[in-house]
Subunit: 372 residues, 3 copies
């Protein structure tokens, strides 16, 4: 297996991302009638919501003299270049040149296929036919039975450093020891599965206490032994969906026994060493308590800040490394999910991308625990 | 023609500037007895005015241990190195070494030929004999019949993005729609000429209203139809001279009918992706109205700021582009002046620079309208 | 000789530093129980003082997933990785993996040999056996008969620009004319010696006045002619030790005649164009006068700031130079010490580094004047 997956951290300064794939372009709510310029997989893209409500994604480079369309103004579902006023439709076709009647045949910018699926806008950056299914659909994103929150966090590191971060939760006991305070991850995950181009892990804990951000909001408190199941799925290089399921073995009479939270980690490369990181969290308890929402948010923010700070120094170490070919990386059992994800990525990056076009990669994949 | 000129925007991140040419080094008034360091065509140059009043331009790199002479002090027309005190004459020859009597034969820094021609100091960066004539002389620069103003504006883009910007004024209707508010540029220029290595355009407008920055100061007001002629000359890659000539077809009795303004755009590469941009504006009306001067200045500043912001994003797009060979650029009729300028540049950049040494390139060329 | 030493300033943007050598890692007092990350010769190194008091220097890159150990916490003389908690001993061996009992055989980070010798911590970055002797021992660093002071000054230039700076004191009359005000350096040093891989110079001045920072503190005053001897040794590319010895030829009855000061210039490359610069100054007079200490410190700080500003512009000139092979550098007699130091360096940088392993390079070398 070693020979097949990416050899080591040194690959984290390369364009190790497939173009023929769905990537998150942003939260739906970020895209409005005011165009924004966003670097996605090294390409400048303009994103805006046309008058009809549809999201349009075009190369942010006018075919005339390369002006950023994002500095122009939308007109209906079209957009007008800020420089000399060429107008482009949502399909990228130039539909108007102010200074002449005929429109040159090649006057077209690339249009990227997009798909909205709450809470995200997805984009297909490749030249091939977009895959039918998105890597993940977030069923609970707009479900009133869940309290949700999310944010965008630019991180100056290769996106796979983030994906590998969330595939090895044994880092909770160290990096997030004082913030997340989630106990139990002192052993590799007991279950690791690969399925239809995805990698999942699952770990069950019994007789365990809850972290502060769960103890209060669930009403279970910090001193009671409960059951907890942590699970996560690397759905594609673009997105990881994870969950925590808590069961109180002896709830008081008439009291609730099961509680769940979910988190989505969406990563989109800006360049080999910079990434968009969009996270989206949900819990099915304490839905109406604004103070709980603020407390949870504060803890999640602090935790991600710890990840960001660490990963950016790792990237600096990788980027300034002068001994690429001597670079050693040693793995342990807890790295199984991460190593399997590297293998998936390696297959996707192969010429002809045969892995990508294999049917099982394309099946709809709602996030669920490996056991479900 | 396509094969001959620079293929597309991708060339805007290369050293696309001839050394065997006159370039603007700055405004005369910038050069004083206090030496300044200025990057010109990738070379550090020290500029100062010697005691005799002459402008001296030397390589800003002492031949001894490469200290910047610009941190030293002038002595007469010489300059003394700030590090170990070697003294250099205006011809670059070392004339004194503090610690020994004999001066090593090779102790010489490059001296660049300069020429003052209001409002600029010009510099010849090449190794060959400087051309006799400057690309342009600005007759009206010190003429009291003109109200003048100018400024230096560093722009983080290739200098040709600026030159092409001013060769296609159809951008007025879009980029400067709310600032300059100059109407009429809704068609390509009716006249495009090449002449002695220069490219000129000319456009005549009849029955047109004046922009606010002209309506008030000319006294014509915003509601009267006038005649307007816009013209411009790409005199060399270093400088563009343009003008606007207004004629009021029915001035009141004893009132003036003709009004003119001029603008010079001087561009000097700092590096492939950074440029000095010196503009110099003049009008032959409202000469003594300080408020008019302030108002015009504010509008011109705002307009250039719009250019700068846009061009810097275009340069970012060019510089980060990962598809150099697939980079498409589509031209229209309004691009004729710009395309012809590219062709001129292409000839100048050819090995042996035969275009440069051709006699007609060297003829004095005061700025005038193509029709004059 | 010319052909053998580094050709010119252009080498000052390359990795012109031997790894098989002792370099200063910092002042002893900088290294505490709180780990620090420091870039040394392009390598990220974590430095900390273990519970036993010993200084530990490890590659600042966990062998697992490259996290910076400097963000972790020391435990005894060991350090625990901030990411997943691997624990490493001072020899770099992984001694604990939290999630499994067995430790992979290759789980080891590089440990660098260090040696404390006041006021510095030295580090050996090479793969070979460390040389027995340090390039210099500073006998007087903790001697109560000397008033000492020192500081770290990061300079954005190649370290050899600093070393050459202090090998040619004729720059005092120009760069530090208004700060250090040390007169006399108007000729090349009369004595230049190479000895056991080191380069020394010595210059004697008679009938000379003292600089302000000496005149007051010695009690001699600014108006008396004294004897002064300046000397310096390039002990290795890492360190230069210099001194000034003053003799009052006619001290008053019962008054002291001899006064000395010393300065150490330690340079350690961060990268080809950035350096750590640690200076350490001492004088054997005015030991108990706090105001003198402050005044001398202010003058030394101002002087180094002048060096830093100048050297950083020189580096910019080198780094942006587009004519590498045409780069001229002219030397004079005052450059003999610097040129000999280049020759030493050139020998050290040769493959097999035979110069380095020659016995005379390895002899203990306390700093002393060439004549002692
Ligand atoms: S650059 Fe877009 S219309 Fe000219
Ligand atoms: S660098 Fe100019 S005199 Fe030494
Ligand atoms: S990176 Fe150090 S323990 Fe994982």
């Amino acid at each position: 297996m070693t020979a097949q997956h990416e050899p080591n951290c040194a690959a984290r300064a390369t364009r190790n991302y497939p173009e023929e794939a769905w990537w998150v372009a942003g939260f739906s709510e970020e895209i409005s009638g005011t165009p924004i310029r966003r670097m996605l997989l090294d390409h400048a893209v303009v994103l805006y919501r046309g008058a009809s409500g549809r999201v349009v994604a075009l190369e942010d480079r006018c075919v005339h003299r390369w002006a950023p369309l994002s500095m122009g103004r939308p007109a209906g579902d079209d957009i007008v270049c800020p420089y000399h006023g060429f107008r482009f439709g949502p399909d990228g076709q130039c539909v108007h040149v102010p200074t002449q009647r005929d429109i040159p045949g090649k006057a077209k910018v690339r249009a990227f296929e997009v798909r909205e699926s709450a809470p995200f806008v997805w984009i297909w950056m490749g030249r091939g036919e977009p895959a039918e299914a998105l890597p993940a659909t977030i069923d609970w994103a707009e479900d009133p039975r869940w309290l949700t929150m999310g944010a965008a966090l630019p991180v100056d590191c290769n996106y796979m450093l983030i994906q590998e971060n969330v595939l090895d939760l044994t880092h909770f006991g160290y990096l997030h020891a004082t913030t997340f305070q989630q106990p139990g991850w002192t052993a590799p995950p007991s279950e690791v599965r690969t399925d239809a181009g995805r990698v999942g892990y699952r770990q069950h804990f019994t007789g365990i206490r809850l972290a502060p951000f769960q103890a209060g909001p669930t009403g279970i408190g910090p001193d009671k032994d409960v059951e907890r199941t942590d699970w996560g799925w690397f759905m594609s290089p673009a997105i990881h969906v994870a969950g925590i399921d808590i069961v109180d073995p002896s709830p008081g009479a008439g009291r609730r026994a099961a509680f769940s939270s979910r988190i989505v980690h969406a990563t989109t490369p800006i360049s080999p060493t910079r990434s968009h990181y969009w996270w989206f969290f949900a819990q099915d308890y304490a839905l109406d308590d604004a103070q709980v929402a603020r407390d949870v948010r504060a803890i999640v923010d602090a935790t991600f800040e710890e990840d960001k700070r660490l990963l950016e120094v790792i990237q600096e170490t990788i980027s300034t490394d002068v001994r690429r070919d001597q670079a050693v990386e040693v793995s342990v059992k807890a790295d199984q999910p991460g190593l399997k994800a590297r293998l998936m990525l390696h297959k996707m990056l192969r010429p002809a991308a045969q892995a990508l076009s294999s049917p099982d990669m394309q099946q709809p994949a709602a996030a669920r625990s490996p056991r479900e």
